[in-house]
Symmetry: C2
């Protein structure tokens, strides 16, 4: 499945914080064909470090397909023979140096000043993300979504869709996600990442555009993010306590390393190169501020707005959004009268299993998507 990035432009977007954002641009991809009655659309929302590249490949030689390619495509649970799947970059996507990502955030040029917003960018919320997606869907003529689905921060968006636009959403799939960001996670990786970025001398109070930028602080942020997104069991199963250089005694000096250190740090440094530090901080803030249905009263009142059926898919070894939080959401949804069910991913892969092992939920996804 060869896909290509498209760009959606919006003159203005009123944000939840009260500010109006001008000249909004977000990238998006579509898989499958929109039916003449435009009633077969499924929206996929991405996770914190993700992009709109949910499925397929940009060309024949691209090695790794989109992150949920295992479940999106011809004959797959999100069957592109039947459904028109849309996936968009969020506002404030962190991967601004990825040439295929199109987003509006702190690294964008403020039309009023002609310079990057930096830390003058307004505070964003998950609600703003879905309002941008709502404008995109409307521009495509879509008035009702067969389903909205996403992992982690994508799950926040999926749930928010059902609260903000209850008449537009028939099914919601919330993967490795919850009704609010856990306070432990607000602190770590969230606040820890921000502190690491600010500690980097290249941070320069966020005025680093055109300069090196806080790459080391960002790399540390990714190390912490990765460790929490994986799990202790994952570490046991893969690198364990192997040394990076088995030929050297670890008692020799401070600079010897375990393989887990060199492997995680190498990946984190590569990731950091694609990422804008201010965008990372703003997106972490949007995550921290997330509670389902802010602006619609209490959590209970917000959930009572939902008309969609809801499927929750937690992972048993998740440190990020522990399964008990998903259980709490399930209970709250049912108390609010929502038709909600849950399917637990059995995996030692931690939070990331919701992305890397989504195929384990294929049957549950297919049944839910095809259900009446």
């Amino acid at each position: 499945m060869i896909v290509h990035k498209q760009v959606f432009e919006l003159d203005r977007l009123d944000l939840f914080c009260g500010t109006t954002l001008r000249q909004v641009r977000v990238g998006y991809e579509t898989y499958g064909t929109l039916s003449p009655s435009k009633d077969n659309a499924i929206l996929i929302c991405h996770h914190f470090s993700g992009t709109s590249h949910a499925a397929g490949r940009y060309n024949e030689i691209e090695e790794i397909p989109g992150y949920w390619d295992a479940v999106i495509g011809p004959g797959k649970p999100f069957d592109t023979h039947r459904y028109f799947v849309v996936s968009s970059d969020t506002l404030c996507n962190i991967n601004v140096k990825d040439p295929r990502v199109v987003t509006t955030g702190p690294a964008s040029i403020n039309p009023q000043t002609g310079r990057p917003y930096g830390t003058s960018f307004p505070i964003l919320t998950i609600k703003d993300f879905i309002n941008a997606q709502h404008a995109l869907a409307s521009s495509l003529g879509i008035r009702r979504l067969h389903a909205v689905a996403g992992p982690s921060m994508g799950g926040f968006q999926a749930l928010e869709w059902a609260i903000a636009y209850p008449e537009m959403v028939a099914r919601v799939i919330v993967v490795i996600s919850a009704g609010e960001l856990h306070p432990w996670v607000i602190m770590m990786p969230g606040r820890v990442a921000e502190t690491a970025i600010r500690l980097d001398p290249n941070w320069q109070n966020g005025e680093y555009y055109g300069k090196a930028g806080p790459l080391e602080g960002l790399a540390l942020a990714f190390v912490v993010l990765t460790m929490i997104a994986k799990s202790q069991l994952w570490a046991d199963r893969t690198v364990g306590r192997a040394l990076a250089d088995p030929g050297r005694s670890p008692f020799e000096g401070l600079d010897t390393r375990f393989l887990i250190e060199t492997e995680i740090e190498k990946t984190a440094k590569e990731r950091a190169k694609l990422v804008d530090a201010n965008s990372y901080i703003y997106l972490a803030k949007a995550g921290a501020l997330y509670r389902a249905g802010i602006g619609f009263g209490s959590l209970e009142e917000a959930l009572e707005r939902i008309r969609a059926k809801v499927l929750l898919i937690p992972c048993s070894s998740d440190l990020f959004l522990p399964p008990y939080q998903s259980q709490q959401l399930l209970g709250a949804l049912r108390r609010a009268g929502v038709n909600a069910s849950s399917f637990e991913l059995e995996s030692d892969g931690g939070h990331l299993a919701g992305i890397l092992e989504i195929h384990k939920a294929s049957r549950a996804l297919r049944d839910f998507v095809e259900s009446a």
Copy 2:
């Protein structure tokens, strides 16, 4: 129970890495009275961020007693009416700015140069810690220990005692600990802390003595350490998602905070003031390198040396040294023919429950200490 710090001095200590350390000094405290036959001594080993202050108060007005005061004292499980309890500062104790801590580590003066060792200090291991304790015990005339006990890194030491000096140890109590440091924990908080310290411009490659030192990097290290030593359930039960300043809208600006952020950071900053950054890095390395009985062959061969009875006390919500790791050690000990048992602390307090909620194990501790 009023206690006071004493100092043990040793001319030389041969380290596992091959270097000889000169003019070694460590602080220690004792509670109770050594019997004429010197057969009633119990050694308590402290955790990573701890000191020899395991019980009692230094004076009448000291608010908080030693960390295991709940179980050490007259009539308590480690009954000072019956036992002579000894607790020493480890080599490379991190709290070098605490006036009551006496230790030898990177912040100490190298007698050969007259300047602090800094990063020229040799690599330390848990085995070196217990060899210093062994010299201390010998200096007190103690030839056999009724028990050795400790939480976390203190548990590493307790187990190592039974392997290195099998004829000297009758009972071992390993609290919230394991047979090796988990690879996930090598990376975080271990390596993450080191990276945070090195990122601080005041780090100066470890040559910060007499200057400000990397206080911000250290504070970040303590934030990460604290989050892993606590638990998600702890966060739910205490601060939750409360705002630091409920009178201010969190959608107003980047600088608004949740209570969990301000509380954890305040404590971390206070802790950092007492701590030497190089010592933190060296002690984390000693932790990372820990595997029970290095130098005595495989783990199996090392455990077969043990003659002591062993009691393991894991905590159900521990993220740091998850209960399954303690279960693995229990299995390995039994396969090695050791009389080993386990008592699980039921708590949502995470790793720190092994310190703050040790009273929950009082009965198990008392039975074990008094057992034949």
